[in-house]
């Protein structure tokens, strides 16, 4: 059969044009669907989206507190418990809730010692006995976002009074739990564990400073620092150390985790201060979670009337 002799091809063997076009369209549709699915799935792999599960029982059964901070709305339980900086578990704020879910918070002891007349290791149940009052505070992260959070807890002062600080005690050092078997952070987290923090004694004794054990009138969830954490509302959030296991009174300024990691960017005091910028970004404004625009950051996070006297005469640009 000559290659040019088309007349001899059995017409039955020729694909009709309509069928050929159909097949082509079919393949095209396949390529379209296949690539779009692959791209979409790749995107999903990196951006799983927030959990689509119904809000947990806690969130649903809890009435939203109507008490507000100077007319500001309290953030939702969902937002407060799914946007957490907790590097022991993950450096991704939305990944912490899931990774911390299995963290064991019982039994739990907090060892209090150092320059005190009455050193003591407290069981968590004893610490819960110090009281459970609701404190609705602004919470300002150094990353320029903020929330309003309804904590439950008791002033740190009650615990400190119980151990009787000696006259030499000038600072309070805190240490977090660190159990690598339960906490699998990224190898590139960039900070050392266990996490440590510190306050000047007068800051620690201030009535606004609390040990929080609850959130939304329920036990505090793991991702927010269970079973017991510090809350110092006029300082950047990283000062409010989570899952405390050790409190030590000292006469020298204790080392603090973020200051160790980068002393140019994170100072010991770390008071919320719109006039002292982070070297890389502005601290003059913040995004309140739940809002789209930015709002102005308040000096001492709005607690200036209560705490400004602690820093009288201090150069807050130097002691940032």
């Amino acid at each position: 059969m000559g290659s040019d002799d088309y007349s001899k091809i059995d017409p039955k063997g020729i694909t009709p044009e309509s069928l050929y076009l159909n097949r082509r369209n079919f393949i095209r549709a396949g390529i379209f669907a296949g690539t779009v699915a692959a791209t979409g799935l790749t995107y999903r792999l990196f951006n799983p989206g927030t959990s689509t599960e119904a809000p947990s029982e806690t969130a649903e059964t809890q009435p939203t507190p109507q008490i507000t901070v100077a007319g500001e709305k309290v953030n939702s339980f969902q937002d407060i418990t799914n946007y957490n900086n907790y590097y022991e578990f993950s450096t991704g704020k939305t990944a912490v809730a899931k990774k911390a879910a299995g963290f064991k918070t019982r039994p739990w002891k907090v060892e209090v010692g150092g320059l005190v007349g009455n050193p003591k290791t407290f069981d968590i149940e004893e610490l819960l006995g110090f009281g459970q009052e609701e404190r609705i505070y602004r919470f300002r992260c150094v990353e320029a976002w903020s929330m309003v959070i309804p904590w439950m807890g008791s002033p740190l002062r009650r615990l400190l009074d119980a151990v009787e600080p000696t006259p030499e005690a000038k600072y309070v050092a805190f240490q977090s739990a660190y159990d690598p078997r339960q906490m699998q952070s990224s190898f590139s987290a960039g900070i050392d564990f266990p996490y440590v923090e510190g306050l000047r004694l007068d800051e620690a004794m201030h009535p606004l400073t609390i040990l929080a054990t609850g959130l939304y009138r329920k036990p505090i969830p793991n991702q927010n620092g269970a079973p017991i954490r510090l809350v110092v509302p006029w300082k950047y959030g990283f000062k409010s150390i989570k899952a405390i296991t050790k409190i030590t009174l000292t006469d020298t300024e204790p080392p603090t985790t973020w200051n160790i990691a980068n002393s140019d960017e994170y100072g010991f005091y770390s008071n919320v201060n719109p006039n002292v910028d982070h070297p890389r970004w502005s601290q003059a404004s913040e995004r309140r979670i739940g809002e789209y625009g930015m709002r102005e950051t308040l000096m001492f996070n709005g607690y200036g009337d209560e705490v400004a006297h602690l820093y009288e005469g201090m150069d807050l640009k130097k002691y940032f």
Binding site: R28, I31, F32, T35, V36, T39, G40, Y43, R44, N47, G49, T50, T52, N75, Q78, D79, N82, Y83, Y87, T91, K93, T94, E143, W145, S186, S188, A189, G190, I191, A261, N262, D277, R280, W281, S282, R287, I289, G290, Y292, G293, M294
Partner: protein
Amino acid sequence: MKDLKFYKFILVVNGLVPLLLLAFDGSRGQLGANPIEFFLRATGVLTLLFLLVTLLVTPLRKGFGWNDLIKFRRMLGLFSFFYGCVHLITYSIFDKSLNVPGIVADVIQRPFIAVGMIAFIILVPLAITSTNGMVKRLGGKRWARLHRLTYVAAVLGVIHFWMIVKSDVFYPAIFGLALASLLLYRLYVILKTKSVQARAVGK
């Protein structure tokens, strides 16, 4: 290449998939507690990703002989520019409330903003001169020289990403490694060409 139009269409659709998914998640409140930050981060990463994929075209062509890829490079580059625009617009609206003096002050005071802004500004002439007419008007050589600025934009983009991270530099490091490999490939090609030329001259 058969069906070029169809494959270009496929590329456009796939390039828009991330944006559509972002919009879809956003409309259902699934971008987390801080949707603006998420959107900013995602569009920034997409800008950088498309820029790196653009730079991957040449190695793939030369390494595997996939010459047809060149027909898609312009579109990949334009997608990088597109996501860069979305990124910058999002920042301007939601972080700065379209306050121009505020944006200028940000650029002056914040090195990471300055670096990102310079990277974006570099992409503008590259996008403008991406048409066939512009290639002709500039002449192939001059056009190619101008478009080498892509490397500068990519380096600045990675630095911009690195600088905003607080302490976990894992993802910026991944982008940095990818970019370094792409640049090293070019260096290797240049050195190889030079040594071949040198040998030719020696003969």
